[in-house]
Symmetry: C2
Subunit: 200 residues, 2 copies
Amino acid sequence: MGQELEVVPARQGRAVRLAAGQAIQIINTHGQQVVDTWCFNAADMAEFMSMEHIHGMLETVFPVEGDALVTNQRRPILMLERDTSPGRHDTVIAACDRYRYALLGCVGHHDNCTDNLFAALADLGLRPAECPSPLNLWMNIPIAADGRITWAEPLCKPGDHVILRAAMDCIVVMSTCPQDMIPINGADCTPTEVHFRLLD
Amino acid sequence: MGQELEVVPARQGRAVRLAAGQAIQIINTHGQQVVDTWCFNAADMAEFMSMEHIHGMLETVFPVEGDALVTNQRRPILMLERDTSPGRHDTVIAACDRYRYALLGCVGHHDNCTDNLFAALADLGLRPAECPSPLNLWMNIPIAADGRITWAEPLCKPGDHVILRAAMDCIVVMSTCPQDMIPINGADCTPTEVHFRLLD
């Protein structure tokens, strides 16, 4: 049973509580938007979805439909239950932050996924110890056999979505990546809104 | 000017303070030992060497001689000044922990790099908020173009070493990985000591 469709506006973050067994459908409404995604144990913010632990548990840097996404205690916290996109999501690149945009030449404030994480959690009265490495939904970062990584455009199309089902009571945070200085959100460097809904 | 050679016993951790400009030489004495390595800003434990930020800054998952290793504030904290080994070091796999060994079937206590990090820092009266993703010196984790990772044996030989030079006052932590249930420390699954010295 699906609840109403909600929006994550362009360049912003949202945090959502999921009970164990509930799921969240995240929709790439316009097809080229990267969504930095985190997940925290609702009972203990020190336990969170961990990319480096996922790598070891899944033996891949590219999780696919059916995979269990684990925490820094190696327990499943989200199941990647459904993925209608080509399934290329990044797990090795940090969330963008004020330092990233300063290094790119931005003067003054630039929206960024790290601040969006803290702001979205603050709306729930929560604060993580730091910004964990995110699951960058639809961020297309090919890794060559020699380790070289490249920044590519998303492979998905408008309306592609993932369904993430909670394996424990948790808090999912999404940030519509405000990167507009390199074409990681598509060739026109224009961050867009995405939509989501909770599923029982 | 080199100071005296010190040991990190097999299966243990050590934390060392480096002043900006000082360096640490880490020697793979017996040639097959993985050394999980972390580095924290001596003035702020919340700033530390970050693999996910290194990936974006260097555009590779395999840092090489000459690379600047950055923090979660994208500032260089260590320079990989010298590497006499084939230069294959892992940056995508989490430190081993009690959960890892339990999943491998170990009953009861097993030494692990995560506990070694906390114990080594406790010897200096310090405690990090969590265990950052480590620089796994000599850990050989090939990544295929499809993202699949494999657990391989170190490529280095006895006496190979790296020199890491501090770009700021910092604390370097090393753990001789106690993994003896898979051959990540060589075919005979026998963790060994390594040695290090401080260089001015």
